[in-house]
Symmetry: C2
Subunit: 190 residues, 2 copies
DNA sequence: CGCGCAGTTGATCTTCGTCAAAATGTGTGG
DNA sequence: CCACACATTTTGACGAAGATCAACTGCGCG
């Protein structure tokens, strides 16, 4: 765990290698995964703001190689490097768009559509290995948290998708066999 | 309507007076209100990004007085005025935090809690007039869209809250009589 | 007086979350 | 190699929250 929701912010992280999940908690048990980060991504920038407290937690999903940047240094850099400042602003803007799209989906889409959307997003973000499996291992628990459902429901939907021959599973890896059908599920009633 | 989701971005708006809702659509009928803007707020900044297309719509809730800034000019200004760039970045950061908090609430909170949260947010944002009513008229339809529910459900919950003497309604205005009880509803199971 | 429309309420229906049991897997020590 | 404890996955049954549909109210207006 890189940092925990509620802790004071003292810097940001660059991910050199490995995968990280960024999540928000509700009560003891429940969580919502807000984003995944892979090599090249920033983590902890959500702490920047008036409240110097992390609004989310970040935990490594595998062994990661991180670069920690002290907050004071980072902010000083921003003051000087306007390219970076601009890039960071654009990054926030796109994350905001993404977040609000997910929000709408959460409200109006049935679980199956959300899972479809999530799988496509993961496929796009992490790509596939030679055999066509998504380059990431995701426990069903995490998939559930990412789509805002429970473990059992996520499980059932995945079973359905396998029955329908839209996806396939091998060990901890998932393959999307029929992206088009997922897109249909995603778009349904939209 | 200031602009519509999907249209190309050609500038941003400053609100001098009046209230605006920013919303995202799903299908023909359904929408989700993402944010309200009042005098002093920016609208249309969500269009900034790689895709030069508005990800949301904005419509005036009453007569508004706007200041339109051409996109090219705005971006040129950002290049020069680093204070502004920095402020805008911070603004995005806080909107992102807000958005993700709402996202979690949408998933884990029951409707009643979400309405409580929404009322408190509106109270905080718009304040009250002399008689204690929130300085904003909100149709139940909009309240429903804002909390991610249907008209009927929003209506029922409001009735409950009135029964419980937590809020009061006069014409189109809403008064929060017992903020503490709303906070309890908001925090429940969190 | 009748029509239309927003506000209101009631009745049902679906989806999904919850709980619990069954099946299956995994490790450990004898 | 087996027996046992324990964890994880899978399936089933049930219930609750809320969406949907439809009817009813009051009210303005032609």
């Amino acid at each position: 765990m890189l940092f925990r929701e509620g802790e004071p912010v003292n810097g940001i992280y660059f991910v050199n290698a490995g995968k990280v999940k960024v999540h928000k908690h509700w009560g003891e048990e429940k969580e919502l995964i807000v984003r995944f980060a892979k090599e090249g991504d920033i983590v902890g920038h959500r702490g920047v703001g008036s409240e110097m407290v992390y609004p989310v937690s970040a935990t490594a999903l595998e062994t990661v190689d991180l670069c920690f940047i002290d907050l004071a240094f980072f902010q000083a850099t921003l003051k000087v490097n306007h390219e970076l400042l601009h890039a960071l602003m654009m990054f926030y803007a796109s994350e905001l768009q993404e977040s609000e799209k997910n929000m709408r989906n959460l409200v109006h889409m049935p679980v199956k559509g959300r899972i479809a959307h999530a799988l496509l997003a993961l496929l796009k973000k992490f790509g596939t290995n030679e055999e066509g499996y998504i380059n990431m291992t995701l426990s069903r628990q995490d998939l559930a948290s990412y789509t805002g459902t429970t473990y059992e429901t996520a499980f059932r939907i995945m079973s359905e998708l396998i029955q329908e021959d839209i996806i396939a599973i091998s060990g901890k890896y998932i393959a999307v066999k029929d992206p088009a059908r997922l897109e249909i599920l995603e778009a349904e009633a939209g």
